[in-house]
């Protein structure tokens, strides 16, 4: 059974702390195996990719080719359900419209001394997008990763996706095309990450790697970090529903289960000031679980990590929300708008009863790649800023150097960096 906490209980602080500290993921120690794979790909390139794909994915890329051709992509697209393709197009357009507003602006200004300052944003030159294969192959995630990169102006977007037994989900290929992916390679695992970072005879290297993956992929990303940039390491997904007595318990139950069906380590939490609602939601979850295709996964997630927390009022819930820093936060209350401004830590907020998280997962337009495992305390969901970088600009003329130089010399000398001081002094003396 999921746990039930009550903020009125004397032991609530202790039990909440314990709940907060719950580990939902045992990360397998695959570092050693991954190190060997990365070194092999860095040294032998394509030959290593072909061998490893034969071993792990039972597919001969020597015959099939590493790169997925435009013909294959078109053929895959032709097999897709037109309704799903239409939905993907709607999603792509909405994601694009949302992310265009995130494009940061350059800035140049001249201060009172006449110093010219500013910064310039430029897109990363090449980005790699890891897409998992098999059951966790989500075309929506392809769009969520590719579209912001495209909006950012990344000139080269490279996708890697494993093809176990030669198979790639056709909708994933269709999403890649829709999302503006430039090159697709049918390789996965740590070897794909290594190929993106180091390049091979066939694949030119990229400068940053994004996208979710299993323990091997995550370990490989950590290992190549520094050589290339990486996005966050995603953990199991979570939702927190903050609701009052006006909420519909069946709807909340459906949302909790939408989270729980992802993964046995997913987490669904309800915080409410209405004990009756809590009971109704628990009952509705039990009832809805009976007819869910992925009931085994959802049941395990709800049983092991689900929670209901009763508070005296919604304000009392706010520090709990901030401590949990949920990936997804649904606010289902009489006045949800008034709560938004009081929350510091959440990846995304879904406002009101008519905004189930699933809308945001697919077609809302906002990004569904969001910080998990309480990392919303210090990080943001994926966006355009993840695909650009800023160069600062500073320009002095002789007068500005004369005005600022003495202070720079004083600090250089105070820090024992005389060559710093001299690089300023030599110019002042020569005026």
């Amino acid at each position: 059974m999921p746990i039930r906490l009550d903020s009125c209980s004397a032991d609530f602080p202790a039990r909440f702390s314990e709940f907060l500290a719950t580990k939902r993921e045992v990360s397998a120690d695959v570092d050693h195996a991954v190190r060997a794979i990365v070194a092999d790909v860095a040294a032998r390139g394509d030959a290593a990719l072909i061998e490893l794909s034969l071993k792990f994915d039972r597919v001969d890329l020597g015959k099939l080719g590493l790169r997925v051709s435009a013909q294959e992509i078109a053929a895959a697209e032709a097999t897709c359900d037109p309704k799903a393709l239409e939905a993907l197009k709607l999603a792509r357009d909405r994601i694009e419209a949302f992310h265009i507003r995130q494009k940061p602006k350059d800035d140049r200004f001249t201060d009172a001394l006449g110093v010219e300052l500013g910064h310039r944003w430029t897109a990363i030159e090449a980005v790699g997008l890891y897409v998992p294969g098999g059951t966790a192959a989500y075309p929506s995630s392809v769009l969520m990763n590719a579209v912001p990169a495209k909006v950012a102006g990344v000139p080269r977007i490279v996708m890697v996706v494993p093809s176990p037994d030669g198979v790639i989900n056709p909708l994933v290929l269709a999403a890649a095309k829709l999302g503006g992916v430039d090159e697709i390679y049918r390789v996965g695992g740590a070897q794909a990450v290594a190929a993106l970072a180091y390049g091979t005879q066939t694949m030119k290297p990229v400068s940053k790697i994004v996208g979710p993956g299993n323990a091997y992929v995550a370990a490989a990303k950590r290992q190549v970090f520094g050589k290339v940039g990486i996005d966050m390491i995603a953990g199991p997904s979570e939702v927190l529903v903050l609701a009052d007595g006006t909420a519909n318990p069946d709807w909340i139950a459906a949302d909790l289960l939408a989270q729980a069906e992802h993964d046995e380590a997913a987490q669904s939490i309800l915080i409410t000031n209405d004990e009756r609602l809590a009971g109704d939601v628990e009952a509705a979850v039990a009832s809805q679980l009976k007819t869910l295709p992925r009931t085994a996964i959802a049941s395990a997630s709800w049983r092991d990590y689900g929670a209901t927390i009763i508070v005296r009022n919604l304000d009392e819930a706010l520090p709990l929300v901030d401590a949990l820093a949920p990936e997804h936060l649904e606010l289902i209350a009489a006045d949800p708008e008034s709560l938004i401004g009081k929350i510091r830590n959440a990846g995304a907020i879904f406002v009101g009863g008519y905004t189930p998280e699933a809308i945001g997962d697919y077609v809302g337009g906002s990004n569904h790649v969001l910080p998990t495992a309480r990392s919303a305390r210090f990080s943001s969901g994926l966006g355009v800023l993840d695909f650009v970088k800023r160069t600062s600009i500073l320009k002095c003329g002789p007068d500005q150097l004369a005005a600022l130089g003495p202070a720079a010399i004083a600090l250089g000398e105070a820090e024992g960096l005389d060559a710093h001081a001299r690089s300023v002094a030599i110019r002042l003396n020569r005026r």
Copy 2:
């Protein structure tokens, strides 16, 4: 001798690639030792900090206290050179003015369907700032890390700094006060990073840790990443001067040496289309080295990692600059402005002969914490964005859910996530 490359040579591409791949840093494998320290501090808190500080810093924090008191800070400030303090204040004010313009704006908008979207930025609740002790204790770096956090609105800025033999650089304490640091603890190394991440009896934990440190500090930051956020792992510093025949060789030599004096692994590079200038700069470096206090360090850096690259014209240099992705780029040419827009990868650009990098290191206003080791290909210097995070906001009413719901249901079903589809359908059916 530093290497000299010429783009006209037949072997230039190969030699440049080799130069690009030069490793300047052997990262000591301290992971194992650091893991033990982190676990010890997480388990025993203050007691572990006190023991480890006695062992590594020869200081008894049981007697002296972990936290640096306001009285101690005031006393330290009183011993500082007033000229240096004044320079720090100027630096603080200019860093603040530059970074205020980086504060990102919230966004809320309603699209054609009536869907309300947007995002909200919030400051990270608590940030830890690591400051090295001993010779590498730079008060300017304290400001460069603390001021953007303060501008971002971080309510709690915590500084840790080792006090070997009980000593802390007074100017570092003065800079912390000027920069708005809220708490200072005299503890360093991996143990300080662990204390910031896990908290102890005396130190409350933080959500993100920034600031440079030695191999132990870097390893500890990597290990606690996920539990808390971290900034980039800084490598040895670099400068690239791109100059034409109009440049003053003595000034360039001074700038190359200002970089070289940091560290034997620092790197100074000149790229020019004027062979005579290259020779003059090399001669000026040799001459200026003779009278430099840190000549041993600067000589080693210049000898081992310095380089002069001759190109036929400045346009030919641009792809080389992008490949090197220098932390600092000086443009000293007849028309430096025209080059700025052609460069994709650089941490900071210093424009024209009157803007030595040292101005930016101290009092220009832009941040001197910049991406090293070619990471300007995918990352930016420190700024306000490193201390805030974004929460996306999505709000549908019944009509918007009706408009978007079917596409979300189609994608949920296509991905085999029926509970996702149901969380939308259950609301549509109930209208």
